[in-house]
Symmetry: C2
Subunit: 195 residues, 2 copies
DNA sequence: CTTTATTTTCAGAATTATCTGAAAATTGGA
DNA sequence: TCCAATTTTCAGATAATTCTGAAAATAAAG
């Protein structure tokens, strides 16, 4: 590997992590190299830095492009194609989450809905549906939260995440301030939650 | 596979998804079988349902236990060990997130901190540190949010997730109500966010 | 159209992960 | 203690994946 020690350490770790997330180690390393590179790189730059075959780099770049994780760049007077990663790290995370959702969560929700439509043919199936319904509701809750929060501009998102659970305190305060007689103010939330 | 069609469809899908998340397909299937089973199962029950070898089941169960994902159960007058999954699906997700954090996020934070302590020996390393710092701050923001939110009881968590970005509206309202002259009320949040 | 730089494809090699059966270890009861 | 039931281990077999080099495809420049 032909990289400064600091970069190499990061690239190795990132590749390792990638392989635990269902991403090919090499693809993770290619992404890491691009992430810490000040300038966009072409395929041969990556070959040189990682010491892997040109064809391997080609396939890796293709995969990363399928994930919308790369920014293609052109260098004046150079026929080769260069790639970089988005400057805004939040946009990287958004892309990652969106793509994983599309590939993994959405198909899972589809299957769960299909299975919940079926009429159970036995006690075993009836009980399985109870569990599948719980799972379906949980996934919907989490994806709903993400879909909503995703619309926020980054600064607002940071604000929200920084608050953490303190938000709940604010909600309680809001409830106290605006509660109608009989606690009507909270019912809208509870009904969404309960399922 | 010796399962009712509905269960089989779920088990197959879950195994497939598992393999995209760095979990062995068979381990995913074992978990899925336990998840939809009304009663705890012993290893041989799983052998029968999945049609895989006894030793494979043994290793799979061991791995799931390392992830704290199983509840060992005992059946009166039976020497065999039985396993189930927690009834509360929220506790399952908490365990999953905790374990992944422990195995993947925490070591990553450690490495990032180490690399950020080093004095850069070149422009390339100097720039890499800029990017690594961005990544470190983002991960700290997200894990901080999780650590905080994790403490909430499930009902509160559901409430918070159901609100999604509407929380921001409530925050804005709070700011307007309690802002000190000169906007002092928001500074605590902005400083955490900006880095 | 031809040439040449560059990228992509893909069959087979190399590597890695997974699975199995047989043997060893463990455990609870007699 | 011994025995029998059960679980775990692990070396080798099997299967899946990743990687490579060579050839094909593509595309810009002449």
């Amino acid at each position: 590997m032909n990289l400064p020690p600091l970069c190499e350490a990061f690239v190795l770790h990132f590749g390792e992590m990638g392989s635990r997330w269902g991403i090919n180690r090499t693809v993770g390393q290619i992404y890491a190299v691009l992430f810490v590179a000040e300038q966009p790189l072409c395929a041969d730059d990556i070959v040189e830095r990682l010491g892997i075959s040109r064809s391997n780099v080609s396939m890796g770049l293709k995969e990363l492009q399928n994930w919308n994780l790369l920014k293609p760049r052109h260098v004046q007077g150079d026929r080769r194609e260069f790639f970089g990663t988005p400057d805004d790290i939040y946009s990287i995370v958004r892309t990652l989450v969106d793509e994983r959702k599309k590939r993994e969560i959405d198909p899972t929700l589809t299957i769960l809905r299909e299975l919940l439509m079926q009429s159970p043919g036995s006690d075993a199936e009836r009980y399985a549906q109870v569990r599948l319904k719980e799972m379906h509701e949980l996934i919907e809750l989490m994806t709903g939260w993400y879909a909503d929060v995703q619309k926020l501009e980054t600064e607002r998102l940071i604000q929200l995440l920084s608050m953490g659970s303190k938000v709940v305190k604010v909600l309680e305060m809001k409830d106290r301030l605006f509660a109608l007689p009989g606690g009507k103010g909270r019912r809208a939330i509870s009904s969404q939650a309960g399922g």
